[in-house]
Symmetry: C2
């Protein structure tokens, strides 16, 4: 008897806003507790002494139904009392900080300084927010992503992404590993137990590659059934600089480039049906390609795509 | 010709709420720029990753006319959005954090982490707040005060003072000096140039002694004309645990005990006129004693006491 979609155990690899959409869909389709999300922490940084984890927050706020759905990040019904007074003090205001968001950063910082790991803090927050899906930071040690730009030199991820709105031309991306940063055991366990690993339509360079830079994760993925959903549709990302960065780094900004980035371990690649004609027909290794309607505007879109991804996984990759 | 009161150069040693009252009075009486305040930083601490300097903030908020005059500390017209959400997260709420206050702590933390000294940060804030009086933290290095209690062991100053509302019985007070903490050169210069050093009616054990524990300051005071105003009136402090602590540490809780604490360098001791009959008549060294109406309820009270203190200084200690 074929396994039902909702009974699958799935690990999603995700970054921020783009990835969170499919994560929310998977969260709805799968049985409570059957989804684990491994979240990029390469964009974590310290600001005003506070530890800020933008991708973790976006995933958690989304799963807790607390997210500002207009922006796709941050908390709904935010106030900005602190930021207003920071502006009065001429403090840097390039990173948006809502009051409730600041409370989250403060409590996270307090717990980390008291000796908790980032995984423990995240688990604690998920319990408080009634999130049943397991959310794992990719690592408990720092692994910051830096962007080497043509005209402004090396900058931290958030400087590039938020302060400079990803306008500087990218020469290379540096994935720093502080103190031999390694993935947490919980991440490894989740992947080992998964029926499918789903790489969400997040930025391959900025959101997914930081996770894949862990050899332990990369090696493990070669043994698993891995499905990726393209974040590029008709040569464009719905949001963010994926296409621009591919272009600047010398790659063709299209879905096929994403497939090639994941070719070492990928089993099924799902591109958008709008790319049906342009997507190259030549086969890479044993990777199966498939199409779907991948643009997720509504919650129903997210749930529908999650179901399609898992159904195609069962149909094309098999499942006892 | 006798020097006019407003032309005096004065250094005030002060802690928080009690000291801020006389500091405000001195600020009004003296010419702009003629007052320097050396502020206790023994109660500074880190909370939620933010560097918090309660006494410095109280002095600055008071001088900038931003203080919540009902409490005597914190900013007026505060909001508590962050604290409300911290409570939702079950974060510790024993230390009151207004939103504007949090902005101050965040910007201070950011500047310190970027390499500024606490003196530089304080000066920057004073410029933004149009404070002409010079406000100096007693040191740029950490010198935390710890309280050794009878039944609950050693605790940090803020745990004792705010979290436990100074209820635990005190066995001893530990003035830690981190990394050979020394007073900043600006503090030394200000005292050297002063006509008078005024020890404000702050808690002698918790607010003034941390400053006096620097041998450089203590030695310097023996060469200066030093005036102290008693914080104890009829055996009671108007606010805070000064009398209770004296009692627990085996001292008589009265103004005379304060005089004795400062006897190594004191020239003039001013006690409240309510203590006129009870104040011992025996002379300690060459210290002159005098009385005044020292209870400061209104701004006029503060200005009046400041004027009396300086006039008595000129009259009793002389001034070219």
């Amino acid at each position: 008897m074929r396994k039902k979609v909702e009974d699958l155990k799935v690990v999603a690899l995700a970054g921020g806003v783009g990835g969170a959409k499919l994560v929310l869909g998977l969260d709805h389709v799968l049985k409570p507790g059957n989804l684990s999300v491994v979240v990029n922490t390469g964009d974590d940084f310290e600001h005003f002494g506070l530890k800020i984890c933008p991708d973790l927050d976006t995933i958690c706020y989304t799963l807790a139904d607390l997210v500002d759905t207009n922006r796709g990040w941050g908390l709904a019904n935010e106030t900005y009392q602190v930021s207003q007074y920071l502006a009065d003090l001429d403090a840097p205001g390039w990173f948006t900080l809502g009051d409730k968001d600041i409370a989250v950063h403060m409590e996270r910082t307090r717990l980390l300084k008291s000796g908790w790991t980032l995984s423990q803090v995240t688990q604690d927050f998920c319990e408080k927010w009634d999130i049943e899906t397991k959310v794992h930071p990719m690592s408990d040690s720092a692994a910051p992503t830096h962007i080497n730009t043509k005209n402004q030199g090396l900058m931290s991820f958030q400087e590039y992404f938020v302060k400079h709105q990803f306008q500087p031309e990218v020469v290379s991306v540096v994935y720093e590993r502080v103190l031999d940063s390694s993935p947490s055991q919980a991440v490894i366990n989740a992947i080992e137990e998964a029926d499918f690993v789903v790489i969400c339509p997040s930025n391959p360079i900025l959101s997914i590659e930081p996770i894949l830079r862990y050899k332990e994760i990369r090696d493990l993925l070669t043994e698993k059934k891995v499905i990726a959903v393209s974040p590029l549709i008709q040569g464009q990302a719905l949001k963010g600089p994926a296409a621009k960065m591919y272009d600047e780094l010398g790659f063709v900004p299209e879905a096929y480039t994403v497939l090639l980035a994941y070719q070492d371990f990928l089993d099924l690649f799902i591109y958008d049906e709008l790319d049906d004609e342009s997507f190259p027909k030549k086969k890479v290794k044993d990777i199966i390609t498939s199409k779907a309607q991948t643009i997720m505007k509504t919650k129903a879109d997210k749930i529908a795509l999650a179901r399609v991804v898992l159904e195609q996984g069962i149909e094309l990759l098999g499942m006892a």
